[in-house]
Amino acid sequence: MLTTSTLLLAGCSGDDGTPVLTWYTNPDDGGQAEIAARCTDAAEGRYRIETSVLPNDAASQREQLTRRLAAGDTTMDIMSLDPPFIPELSEPGFLAPVPDDVAAATTEDTLDGALAGAMWKDEIVSVPFWANTQLLWYRKSVAETAGLDMDQPVTWEQLIDAARDQEKYLGVQGANAESMTVWVNALVASAGGQILQNPEAGADELVTDLDSDAGRAAADVVGTIGSEGLGGPGLPTQAENESMLLFRGDNGSFMVNWPFVWPATNAAAEEGAVPEDLIDDIGWAVYPQMSEGQESAPPLGGINLGVGSESQNQDLAWDAIQCIVEPENQSYYFISNGNPPASASAYDDPEIEEMFPMADTIRESLDQAVPRPQTPYYNEVSTAIQDSFTPPSQVAEGTAVETGNFIEKVLRGEALL
């Protein structure tokens, strides 16, 4: 008995007796491990943070975290969480409540979009760490030929016309993957609609809102790009990385994508993988509008931090989280790993402006950004959208209403995904 207890305690403490906090991180370029080391130093022996890397994609990260949390894993001290999956983990009580003082201290200057993604049922259930949003990237030469003033908001219709007239490709994500839900949600929200009427409801009462002008408008954009071949031949299997490659090519024109494309394209230019003058031809703007004059609702991404309800080190974990999300660590993470801060003050770092000339646009976009449906059944909703909106060439006017009906049938246990 004594031996067993000793072994169990040894699992939670280092050799020197220092409590060890496990931080389950999404894969990155080493930024979270560096921040873990910094905060371990700052803790001066009160705790040590060790990182454990989760699988690559968000869906697989969710699977592993959910299984561990459901099994009562006591090592879930700190978790890097994708915002759409937070309600699913919060609803069954898998996440420890955020103490009021921690919530106040860590969200005082958080950008609106990022804060919305950290909440469930009007309560802060996780702490925003970094926020992400998609921008409209464009080739200046193509926009100029099309006669578009990119200092003003542009619409999807204008982009489609420009690509069609110049026989260029639009960089969008048409794969049967999470990126499709990101796109559809942004289109619906930009058209003033929403995917779910009552996202907080239970599975039996959840009602979709895709049978609407906004839903049909979203289907029209996806279907037009798909059926006219404006997304390129790879569109049905094209996610973020593939659309970046398309955008960099000779037929690139406009692209909606996350900010990672900037450091990635600069690195490619340095390696000689793309022409050097490509960088000078790339511009950026806030996400395109669905109709002229109606503010767009760009996609929101990023990572929040949560603590497992079975964690044996909850107080220390919240202490560590406060250190991790300090604005200087968020700035460091942006500069080193290309992931934008959720904190407004983190953007004050002069190095950010130097490395990311589009930082102000990102910040503006984050203020406009709208999260994906926040529901404990997000996985079902998202998968149904992905299945219905792919391949984009087969998306038609009726796709929106069919998707809505399909989601409701799945949630009521009447259909398989």
Binding site: A59, E63, T66, R67, A70, E88, L89, E91, P92, F94, N176, P233, G234, L235, P236, T237, E242, L245, P376, N379, E380, T383, T390, P391, G413, E414, A415, L416, L417
Partner: protein, 320 residues
């Protein structure tokens, strides 16, 4: 001692069959149980218990993220599955992959077995090594290799197609069921044909050489010897190869998961079970899918063993 017993006439052997339980045989029996015990318990732990648990869970509406909402629903999950086109589409794709890959592998495997069998002694080792290389590669690795070969973004298959006049070099192989399943099946055939050829090589080695030679002396052509002498004598090896490979192909997962994740009409039953249980975390529904998949595989095995009279223990096959 053994000479004595085997030399007895059949009738007298029958009479002496009744065992006499001496102390020694009882001790041997106990020892047998002790030796078989660990394997027995392992089988209970890793096969029987999970199977029973899956069967039990399949009768409930149970979601991992709502552990308190577990409700007994009887056969409702099975009804939902069997009345859904997703199941039947997955079933059709699974059967198609099984039938096509096993048929092609059997033909190719036999050809390769002949090559290995006839290879001259000095090259036999080299030939066998070359033929068996694909089987030594991990399925995940081979699936990725085939995926990248046919990827529209980085694969060289589309580059090659660009050189052929009139051929669509912009074909997105993984965006429609026909081409995607073709690549999936090609990767499976490439990977697993060596396994079939190994089994058939063993069967080929058991065909009495003198029979074939006698037929040749009697004027039989090579094709006649193949159909009338070689293949009938390889029946057991062929049936075992078909059985093993069909059961394996019916449970295909890795290649589909890696190349298409079941998108665009390529979903197979094992992937459906995975997506329902592990991705959706619908344990009740997912367990029902898994049980149905198990029943399909069990039925396949039953047909092979009973209908075709495959005797795995004796290595004999064919209708008796």
């Amino acid at each position: 001692m053994t000479t004595e017993s085997t030399a007895q006439p059949a009738a007298s052997r029958k009479k002496s069959v009744r065992p006499v339980k001496s102390k020694r045989t009882k001790a041997e029996a106990r020892l047998g149980w002790w030796l078989a015990g660990p394997a027995f318990f392992i089988m209970i732990a890793v096969i029987f218990y999970p199977l029973m648990q899956a069967l039990w869970d399949s009768l409930f509406s149970y979601r991992l993220t709502a552990p308190d909402d577990r409700e007994f629903v009887g056969l409702s999950n099975y009804l939902t599955i069997l009345t859904d086109s997703v199941w039947w589409s997955g079933f059709a794709v699974t059967v198609l992959i099984t039938v096509v890959t096993v048929a092609v592998e059997l033909v190719l495997g036999f050809a390769l077995a002949l090559v290995m069998h006839k290879a001259i002694t000095s090259t036999r080792g080299f030939v066998r090594t070359v033929i068996l290389v694909p089987y030594g590669i991990v399925t995940v690795v081979s699936a990725y290799a085939w995926y990248y070969m046919f990827s529209i973004d980085s694969g060289y298959m589309n580059n090659w197609m660009g050189w052929v006049p009139g051929v669509d070099s912009d074909l997105n192989w993984f965006a429609q069921a026909g081409s995607a399943l073709t690549v999936i099946m090609l990767s499976e055939i490439w990977k697993t044909t060596p396994f079939i050829s190994l089994l058939l090589l063993a069967g080929l080695a058991q065909v009495p050489e003198e029979l074939s030679e006698a037929a040749a002396v009697d004027g039989a052509t090579w094709r006649q010897r193949l159909w009338k002498v070689i293949l009938p004598n390889m029946k057991a090896a062929i049936m075992v190869a078909v059985l093993f490979r069909a059961l394996d192909a019916f449970r295909i997962f890795d290649a589909v998961f890696i190349m298409t994740n079941g998108d665009y009409g390529t979903e197979v039953l094992s992937l459906l079970a995975y997506r329902t249980s592990i991705v959706r975390l619908e344990i009740g529904l997912g367990s029902a899918v898994s049980v149905l998949l198990f029943l399909c595989v069990a039925l396949l095995a039953f047909i092979a063993v009973k209908v075709f009279k495959v005797d795995l223990a004796r290595g004999q096959g064919g209708k008796s």
